[in-house]
Symmetry: C2
Subunit: 334 residues, 2 copies
C-alpha cells in the first residue's frame, strides 16, 4: 500500500479492500464486522430502538483531547444516550481526499477503535469513498448508530420547577477548536471534553423515570440547546450564571477572543432535565461517573407566567436574556 | 432564506433549522421525523435486523435517470435488500458547500422524498453540515439504513451448479456517468438504471430458502462483484457473454470510450445466486417485477476442479478470464 491515499483506493474493489483490511478491520475488529457484506445483520431481544446519524467535518482533524475519529464515535454514542438508549452498533462512512496521509487515516481509525473498546460499541458496517484532490478537505466521517432504549426512559412533558443538570464544565471543545483555528498561544492545559457518555445512562438507569429529557449541547452550545428546550416545552428557564461550571482557562481564552462560552460546543457533556424532588439524588449519581465530578444544577424551569425564554441571573445580580445563536460562531466545530 | 446556502445554515441552531424545516422536513415528511431530537426512536416486532451505510459523492449531481438524492436513497435500500431485508428506516447526512444553490438542494431532497414514498421507507433522522467554499465539491450525502431480515433468508454456502441471475441490463449507471463526465454527444436514450429493488425481495419472499446470496454490482460492476463471490466461496464461475443483458447503446458507447461494461456500476440491478433446481422459477418471479423484464441467468458455478475464477465464454466461442478491477475506471460514480 502507498503511503498516500490513491484515488483507486475508492474503486470499491480490491484496492478499497486493501484499505479496509489493513486499516479499518484491524482497528475496528469485532465478531460482527464481516468481509464482503454490504449490510450487517444482528438479532435483538428488545423492541425499542434509537437511530441517529452525524457527519463530522471538524478542522483541524487532530486537536488537544481528541481527533475526528474519537469525535465521530463519541458524537453518535452521545446522541443515542440523549434518547435514553444504550449504544450498540455504529456504521462508519469515510470520504477521503486523494493524496491524504495513510498514517493519519490509521491514527483516526485507531482512535475510533479505542473508543469502541472503551464503550463496548461495535462498528459493524462501513463505506469508503476517495475523491480527487480538492473535492474534500482531508477527510470527513459519517457515523450512524443504533441503540436500545432503556426500560423506564421516555421523554416527558417538562413541568414548572424541573431542574437542569449539566454533567461538567462547558465550552471546552469549542474553545479548544477556536484556539487551534486561530493559532493563538495559550497558557494552561485547555483540551476538548470529547468523550463518550454511555456510562451515564447505565449509572442513572434506576432513576430514568424521573428524567424528563436529555440533550447534548454540541453545535451552538449550552445557550442554543436550552433555547431549543424552551421553544419545544413552552416553559421559561432561569439560569444561574454562578452555577455554570466553566474552567478559568475557558473563561479567559474566550474573553481574549471576544467569544461567549455559552455558545461553544461541548462534546462530552449532557444536559439532563429532572423532576425537582429527585434532582439532588440524580446529581449525586452523575457525579460518581468518570469525568462528571463537576456536574451541577445550573437552573430550573422557574419562570412562571412570563414569555418563555432563557433568562440568566448574572454574577452581579442582573438578568440577561440568553438568545439562540445569532451570528456564526465557528464553522466546522464537529 | 437566502437562495444560496450560507455557512451559518450549518450552525446547528436556528439557521440550520430553517434549512431543515423549509426543505428537508417538507420533502421527507413522515410521522416519525420529529423536531429537535438527535435520535429517532421506533419499536420493532421482529428480531433480526440489517444495518448498512453509504456515502454518495457522485459527479455530476444530476444525471439522466436520477440525481445524488435518488441514488442515496436507492443505494442504501438496495444494500439492505442484498441482506434479504425489507428496508424500513433511513438516516440522512448532508455535507453542503457554502454558496451552494438552495434550489438544487431542494430538488435533491424532493428526489429523496419521492423515492421514500415509492418504497414506503422513512427518513427518520438526519444531520446537516455546511463547510466553507472549497472544502467540499458541492454536496455529499450519507444515508444509513435499517431493515428487517425476511423470514427464510440467510446467506448459504454456494454449491456447484448454483445459477447466477442478473435482474436487468448492466452498466447503465456507470456508462451514463461516463457520458456526462466526458461530455460526449451520444445518440439514443442512455440513462442510469438507478432504482430501488425492495419490491424484488417482496416478490421472491416465498422462494427465499432457495437463494444462496444476493449482491448489487455497484462500484466495480458485474466483474468485480462476481470475483468477490468467487473469492469468498472458493468456487469458480462460468459466465456466458451472450446471456448478459446489455443494451446496444451501452455497448456502442463503451466501444467508443474504450471501457469495458463489465466493470461499470449498476445502481438498480441485483445479482442473485440461486439453487439450480429453483433457478427458472425464481427467474420467472423476478421478471414480473417492475424494471426486471430483462432478468436472465448469466452463468453458474460450473467450473469444477479448476482454480476458482470467473471465466467467460465469449460470443465467438473463446474463453476469457474476467479479473477483478485492476485500473481506475471512473471515480465518483456513486
Amino acid at each position: 500500500m502507498n503511503d498516500k491515499v490513491l484515488l483507486r483506493y475508492g474503486d470499491g474493489g480490491k484496492h478499497t479492500n486493501l484499505l479496509i483490511r489493513n486499516i479499518f478491520y484491524k482497528h475496528f475488529h469485532n465478531d460482527m464486522l464481516v468481509n464482503y457484506h454490504d449490510a450487517s445483520v444482528f438479532d435483538l431481544d428488545h423492541g425499542r430502538l434509537a437511530f441517529t446519524t452525524d457527519s463530522f467535518v471538524v478542522k483541524p482533524l487532530v486537536f488537544p483531547g481528541g481527533d475526528i475519529g474519537k469525535l465521530a464515535v463519541c458524537g453518535t454514542i452521545n446522541d443515542l444516550v440523549t434518547a435514553g438508549a444504550k449504544p450498540l452498533y455504529l456504521s462508519c462512512g469515510f470520504i477521503i481526499e486523494e493524496g491524504f496521509d495513510i498514517k493519519l487515516i490509521e491514527k483516526i481509525a485507531e482512535s475510533m477503535g479505542e473508543m469502541c473498546r472503551k464503550t463496548g460499541v461495535k462498528i459493524i458496517t462501513g463505506d469508503t469513498k476517495v475523491v480527487e484532490k480538492g473535492a474534500v478537505d482531508g477527510v470527513f466521517i459519517n457515523t450512524s448508530g443504533i441503540g436500545v432504549v432503556q426500560a423506564g426512559y421516555q421523554p416527558k412533558t417538562i413541568q414548572e420547577g424541573d431542574q437542569i443538570i449539566i454533567t461538567g464544565g462547558i465550552a471546552e471543545h469549542g474553545t479548544t477548536i477556536a484556539v487551534e483555528r486561530f493559532k493563538i498561544k495559550v497558557e494552561g492545559n485547555i483540551k476538548s471534553d470529547c468523550s463518550p457518555l454511555n456510562h451515564i445512562i447505565e449509572r442513572i438507569q434506576p432513576k430514568l423515570e424521573s428524567i424528563r429529557l436529555m440533550k447534548d449541547p454540541t453545535r451552538g452550545g449550552l445557550a442554543t440547546a436550552l433555547n431549543e428546550i424552551v421553544e419545544m416545552s413552552g416553559k421559561g428557564i432561569r439560569l444561574l450564571e454562578k452555577a455554570i461550571p466553566i474552567s478559568s482557562e475557558v473563561k479567559s481564552i474566550n474573553e481574549l477572543l471576544g467569544l461567549d462560552p455559552l455558545y461553544h460546543a461541548c462534546e462530552g457533556r449532557l444536559i439532563i432535565i429532572v423532576e425537582k424532588q429527585n434532582a439532588e439524588e440524580v446529581l449525586d449519581e452523575i457525579r460518581r461517573c468518570e469525568g462528571c465530578e463537576d456536574a451541577t444544577i445550573i437552573g430550573g424551569f422557574d419562570l412562571i407566567g412570563v414569555h418563555p425564554r432563557v433568562v440568566m441571573e448574572t454574577y452581579i445580580g442582573g438578568r440577561r436574556i440568553v438568545s439562540p445563536l445569532e451570528a456564526d460562531m465557528l464553522p466546522r466545530i464537529c
